[in-house]
Amino acid sequence: MNPPLLRTPLYDLHLELGARMVPFAGYDMPVQYSAGVMAEHLHTRAKAGLFDVSHMGQVRLCARSGLLADAARALEALVPADIVSLKPGRQRYALFTTADGGISDDLMVANMGDWLLLVVNAACKDADFAHVRDALGATCDVDMLADRALIAVQGPAAEAALAGLNPRAAGMRFMDVAELELAGVACIVSRSGYTGEDGFEIGMAAGGAVTVARALLAHPDVAPAGLGARDSLRLEAGLCLYGSDIDLTTTPVEAALEWSIQKSRRPGGARAGGYPGAAIVADQLADGTTRRRVGLRAHGRAPVRGGADLFADEAGTQPAGRVTSGAFGPSVGGPVAMGYVAADHATTGTPLFASVRGRLLPVTVTAMPFVAPTFRR
């Protein structure tokens, strides 16, 4: 028997807004509202969508010395990103790696001045928390911030919506993090997201979530958007979904995420290696990999979904890889997908064929993102 589904602090608001709820990572979550996935996706790119992402894990990491530098150095034993040079009020994308170079989760790390805030995937949060506590607990306090909510507001109208509640939001740039009061609620706001749009992610104590969500939804350009639109938006933006596009079997280099390994952590850098699987990743940084995550555009209108096999030839005799996620991209106006292909097929423009219901459909390896990002850098 499955345990009962958990509810986020916005559960009742979702029902009031006409959400269709589905189980996701142990939570009862809104997959869409009455507008539907297509409309919610397009509204987010045109105006702004409000997403409940309270199911994600928020972990506080604080060195017992009280020094941020000690927490940063400690975390670098688990992730290949440069945390030490992450400035106060800044956030960075990172990966938890495994001893064989795989990825056990992707996360955001924010420098909160004297502690680090880690935001991790819902399905991985218990394992991530145990991983960090077991590895760093001797020198750091590691706390799961369980009684908190997280709301994302994404799209070109997001800045106006937040600035209406606190003008300081408008002064933030991409990947800035600040403690701001919104609608009388103390929030941790980052200018970031998972849609390729400018936008904000807003954490607050669970008790303040409905107040903040209602204040943001009161802006005429903000409409609720569900997990369905979140998935098609992130796919158009070329962003990985943990468990589909990256997992324990994919390395950072295979996944084309080496941009998240800063120079200081690479061979020859000031703090090279030192994270799980570092030797394997270093070799792959130098020599490349036999497969690579790429974007794929289908020529017709038939969506190519995750799990579809890819071939180099129309007869389907030469395997080339596999699709890991795919959908119809509402803003692109056609099917978009990503997947892993053999290195010799990974060049942009390479024609391939995807097996869909027994037919081989032509696709082209395409640079990602599929839509131009609008981050305020």
Partner: protein, 121 residues
């Protein structure tokens, strides 16, 4: 004009010995805006319950099951460029396939409108 319904949320309209098949308004609403539709090739024989067509939303692909055994005659080609017609007029212009009815006796196992409406509430 007799229309039958299935528990898989297809409808079937009998026109002589031909069946016009689509999905119900309830199903179209549940699936959300459709972005793609295609059917088995004309001439293909399908058994009752086999997949005769596929409709896709942004999120997912869904099979349309043959309500009866028969041969596929035609796909509604309008849907090739405008699959969302199924959402706008699911039980009219948004029909999906025309097929023969090999055994009219199978119709007796399908639901009438009142029974289907009671099923979906």
């Amino acid at each position: 004009m007799t229309v039958y319904y299935t528990k898989e949320h297809e409808w079937l309209r009998v026109e002589g010995n031909v069946a016009v098949v689509g999905i119900t308004a309830h199903a179209a609403n549940e699936l959300g805006e459709l972005v793609f539709a295609e059917a088995r090739d004309p001439g293909t024989t399908v058994e009752q319950g086999d997949s005769v067509a596929v409709v896709e939303s942004v999120k997912a692909a869904s099979d349309i099951y043959a309500p009866v055994t028969g041969d596929v005659l035609a796909f509604n080609d309008v849907l090739t460029d405008d699959a969302a017609l199924v959402n706008r007029d699911p039980e009219g212009e948004g029909w999906i396939v025309r097929m023969t009815i090999a055994d009219a006796g199978q119709l007796e196992g399908l639901m009438d409108k009142a029974t289907y409406t009671a099923l979906v509430g």
